[in-house]
Amino acid sequence: MKIAIAAQGDHLDAEVDSHFGRCAFFIIYDTETKAFKAIKNPNVTAQSGAGINSVTLIEREGVKKILAGNFGPKAERTLSSSDIEIVRDVAGTVKDAIQLVTK
C-alpha cells in the first residue's frame, strides 16, 4: 500500500508538517517495497485551494493513506470524496509517522 506523509523536507528524517495543504514535500512511501520518493508540493504558494490540489496530486500517485498534523476544511471535504484515509495529529519525523502506520 502507498501512503503519503506531509513533510517539511524531502527525506525520512524531516519533520512531519503540521499543515497538509501547504506542506513543503509529500513523502510517498510504499509499505511493501519500503521504497519512497519525495514530491515538492507545487501548491504551497497557491492563493487558495492548496489543500484541494494537494489531494488530487496524491490521489494520482495511488496513495491510500495520508498523514499530517492537521487538514484544512477544504482538503478534508475533498479527501472524504476520495478513497484516501486521513490520519491526523501526526508529529515527529517522517520515519516515526511510517512506523505509526506499519507497526
Partner: protein, 282 residues
Amino acid sequence: MIVSIASGKGGTGKTMVAVSFALSLIGVVPKEIQLLDCDVEEPNARLFIQSLDAQKKTVTVPVPVIDASLCNLCGRCAEVCVYNAIAVTQKKALVFPELCKSCGACSYLCPQKAITEKEKKVGSVEEAKGSGIALVSGKLEIGEIDAVSVIKAVKKRVDPQKINVIDSPPGTSCPVLETLQESDFCILVTEPTPFGLNDLKLAVETLRKLQIPFGVIINRCDLGSDCVEAYCEQESISVLLKIPFKREIANAYSRGIPFVEVAPEYRKRFQTVFQNIVKELP
C-alpha cells in the same frame, strides 16, 4: 458628478471626511447629495448618518453546480479553473463556491454540459434616506473574497443627476481601482507622518495611473511634521484642507457623530473645497 474620498493608509479619517463633506453640501448645491460607501469590507459611513427606512438588497454572483448524472469525471473543469475552486477526485467532482470568481470558464468548457450556475450571496447593498442625503452602503459577507462584485453593485446606484460622494476602501489594490474608476475627482486623506506619507505616495501613483484629478486633505495636521506638505509642494499637488487634531473631534467620531456637527465652522471649509474642485474640473 462623482467625488471619491480615498487614502493609501487606513484610519486617516477618510470616512469622517466623506461624511462631513457630503453633509456640508446639503442645501448649498442645487443638486441632491448621495453618499456611497464602497469600503465594503468595513462599511462605516452609516454609523454616522441617522437614516430612515433602509432597503436592503442582496448581491449575488453565479457559481457552478455540477450535475453528477452528466459528469464523467474528466477533470476539465478543475484543470481550467485558475482559482482552484473545483476538485475532481476519482469518485466525485466538488465545487468550492467560496473560492469561485464567477468567470464561467468551467460551465462553458465542460464537454459534457454538466455544469450550470446558481446564484450565491456575497454581500448586500443598503439604500437609506437621511435628512437631505441618500446613503448607499455595500457590505461584503464575512469570509467572502469578492469585494469587487459588491462594489460594482454599489456603483450601479451612482446617479449622474446627483452629487455622488464615494467613500473608497483604503489601499491601492483591485477594490480601490474598481471604486475610483469613473470618478471626476478624488480627495486623498492623509496624515503628516512617515506612514501617511509613504501610503499617500502609493495613492498618488494610483490616481496618476487612472488619470483622475485629485487633491489632498491633511488630517491631524498638527500631529507630525511638514513632510506631507513638502511632498505636495514638490509634486504640485493642491492641499485642499488641513484639519488639526482636536479631542472633541476624536471623541465625537468615537460616538458616531459627524465632526461638522461639533465643529460647524468646517461646513464652510468643505463647501470651499467643493467649489475649488468644481473649478479644477474641465
